[in-house]
Amino acid sequence: MKTVIDNYIRKEMFPNIWCPGCGNGIVLGAIIRAIDELKWDKNKIVAVSGIGCSSRITGYVDFCTMNTTHGRALPFATGIKMANHDLKVIVVMGDGDCSAIGGNHFIHAARRNIDLTAIVINNMIYGMTGGQYSPLTPTDKFGSTAPYGNIDQSFDLVELAITAGASYVARGTVYNPRQSTSLIKRALNKKGFSVVEVISDCPVSYGKMNKMKSPVDMLKWIKDIAVSKKVWEGLSPDEKKGKYAIGEFLSKDRPDYSELYEEIIKKAQKMGGNE
């Protein structure tokens, strides 16, 4: 058996390390299928991740890869992009990675419109470290650090990214792999900071504490909470509670950071007489 996936993975690393039914593998498949549709040269792609179960993705793809430190994938990726504007840089982060320890990097990468694609695997929990709640854990859900229920209000990552200045913002789920693949493809094609949040399942750390022990239970739940943008718009504020709109929310054009950086260098050279 040979599939399109096989052209992009480090086969000797499989079976992957993730728990049975973990959504990370579904997102990995969506990323690879999107890249295959774009026919990009593997050697021009750099995949960067931080620390977390989701960040293990960079160990499985046969691109140039970099596994960095928790929360800091975006700064490393920014450095790569600034050093070589021709590289296609993809950043894969967990919800904790992106919105807790890496939250500041996230808003500033969006604000500066750095030409990167950020894929945020939102399993709504710190999966790797045993189920601590994250800024994306829904209110009232349980975590090992919220044994009586989470009292925090969670970020809406889509709204956060739009407000901070991203060029492309979308949300998919692992239950809808075709839609997620096409959203990722559109994000990769976008110049500027593009974000795709993919709602994912962690049956072990999240499911166990929230009465969804099996991957199948978790996917049924995800199917239930995710509604199309159109349906979402017709819901009352009460009906929206606990639900997530999925689809594309923003696609706009504004100069990206590499472009502005090159312009300012030219300007400086001119003014300094070094043209």
Binding site: M1, T3, I9, P15, W18, N24, I26, A30, P177, P215
Partner: protein, 80 residues
């Protein structure tokens, strides 16, 4: 059937379903969400396309498999 086989191929004259048994973790996702109930679990929880004739080649089992362990291909009818 031989449970030790690394990969199993099942086909009729319009579709070919392959299961990479070595990579499958028996999560049950492909089996549960197949719209046509094509797949049934074996004694290890790995999918067997017992109702392969009902398969509509939607490919969802392949796209939702977290372990790249199941693929669906349309068989080239010229080979029949």
């Amino acid at each position: 059937m031989n449970q030790k086989k690394i990969s199993e191929v099942y086909q009729n004259n319009s579709v070919k379903i392959s299961v990479r048994r070595e990579w499958c973790k028996s999560c049950g996702i492909c089996i549960e969400f197949c719209p046509k109930d094509v797949l049934v679990p074996d004694d290890q929880g790995k999918p067997i396309p017992e109702n392969i004739d009902a398969c509509i080649k939607c490919g969802l089992c392949e796209l939702r498999c977290p372990d790249f362990a199941i693929t669906v291909e349309g068989v080239d009818k010229k080979d029949e």
